[in-house]
Amino acid sequence: MAWRDDWRRVRAIARKDLTTELRAKVGFNSVVALGVTILILLGLALGPDAQALRNAAVGAVWLATLFSGVLAFNRSFQVEIETGALEQLLQYPGPRWTIFAGKLLGNLLFVTLMVAIVVAAGIVLFGVRIPAGWPALLGVLALGIVGLVLLGTFYASMASRSRAREVLLPLLLFPMLVPVLLAATTASKALLGADLMHEAGAWIRLLAVYDVVFFIATFIAFEHVIEA
């Protein structure tokens, strides 16, 4: 069945990407190290005021996630380009969207692993108290990661053939991620506090809509982007 073949390709690419990144170590270690370093630097910049640190925690975690994510997205296509493997990848039969889906799944797992460490570091470094409504907070985190990885993977594929890809990717990606960051930080802050204004729901809906819209758009556009 065609969907079974497509799913097998998606899994194969995701497994290959994850294995390569985790085995290379330099990839995962550098991405996590960057995230934690950003948190430490922001913590130092904010000073010893515990309340100020707690207030800034959400923004700091999302910033660290964003910068570390860019490093991860760049690497996911860099491996293919450096070894000449992208040409072989494009040679396999089957629809091109399976390549994007495989890369997306691999990056989702990789970034989720990275975010788990960054969030844990953020909780410790910024003295965040975990609220009773933490499952909703996890939901916001998940929606934010999906939005970030969707666009990160898509723009990394677009920038991959450019010699200036390290510069090009953040230039393309950051403006597009403003709604994700705004919605994710505002919703997270509301859920960490008392959410007196009941604003978290609206921001979560915005995140969900953003993810759905860009899920469809990136899958449609990928085939045109990856063609020579």
């Binding site: 073949d5 097998r8 390709r9 899994r11 194969a12 690419i13 290959k16 294995t19 390569t20 085995r23 290379a24 491996v79 070894t83 000449g84 493997a85 992208l86 040409e87 072989q88 990848l89 494009l90 040679q91 396999y92 039969p93 089957g94 629809p95 063609e227 020579a228």
Partner: protein, 234 residues
């Protein structure tokens, strides 16, 4: 509409490719019939790899057309990809995966069983290092592994870019046996080469690219009807 001939596995007509303002291919026409291997000779930068990459659907031509077993390389790229096996100059392997993992990945992408990948590793003489990471492989071993991946595809048309580079005598014999097997089953091969010697026994005819043009007895498509023989052979 490309008018493909039934006996032709590969039909290239008036192919042109431009990178920026520079034309690297101009009016290239050639064909490869089923059961034959054709050598594409020429100096560095003459456009040999560009021809192969266009036929492999990795580049779009700016002029002309090409078809593989009747599939147009631009409009029916998916069909072409199911027909061709492209061995690039760079092996295109994943350094941090083992030889076995590289082939299992290819098998998953192609829908082949992992047992086929194991048999192919055995055939190319890499079974004893199947669990080793490719990063530690010599250039010749990487070439063999790339060849194993090609065999796994079971292609109808081989597109080989300098296939003998970095191969020892056994490797050259292995490469030739793979090409011969494809030709015997009615497939075809277009082989880009610097040196004719290792492929001499395999090639039925050759054509030479110079500065993006086929150097052949004019007119334009003479290479089709008056094949250029390999020097020193009948």
């Amino acid at each position: 509409m490309f008018n493909a001939q039934p006996d032709r596995a590969l039909d290239v007509s008036g192919l042109g490719k431009r990178f920026g303002a520079r034309w690297v291919l101009r009016g290239v026409s050639l064909d490869v019939r089923r059961g034959e291997a054709v050598g594409l000779l020429g100096p560095n930068g003459s456009g040999k790899s560009t021809v192969l990459r266009i036929v492999a659907t990795l580049l779009r031509p700016n002029a002309g057309a090409a078809a593989v077993n009747g599939f147009d390389v631009v409009r029916e790229a998916g069909g072409v990809r199911g027909q061709v096996g492209y061995l690039a100059h760079s092996p295109g392997l994943y350094d941090d995966l083992t030889a076995r993992e590289n082939l299992w990945f290819a098998a998953d992408m192609l829908g082949s069983p992992h047992a086929a990948a194991e048999a192919t590793l055995e055939r190319v003489g890499l079974a004893h290092v199947a669990g080793d990471r490719v990063r530690g492989f010599s250039a010749g071993m990487q070439r063999r592994l790339a060849l194993a991946r090609l065999i796994l595809r079971n292609p109808r048309v081989l597109l080989l870019d300098e296939p003998y580079s970095n191969l020892d005598a056994d490797g050259v014999a292995l490469m030739n046996s793979v090409i011969a097997g494809i030709l015997r089953s009615g497939g075809a091969a277009l082989v880009a080469l610097h040196e004719l010697a290792p492929a001499r026994a395999m090639l039925k005819r050759t054509c030479t690219l110079v500065a993006g043009r086929i150097e052949a007895p004019s007119p334009e498509r003479a290479s089709r009807d008056q094949p250029v023989p390999i020097p020193g052979t009948d």
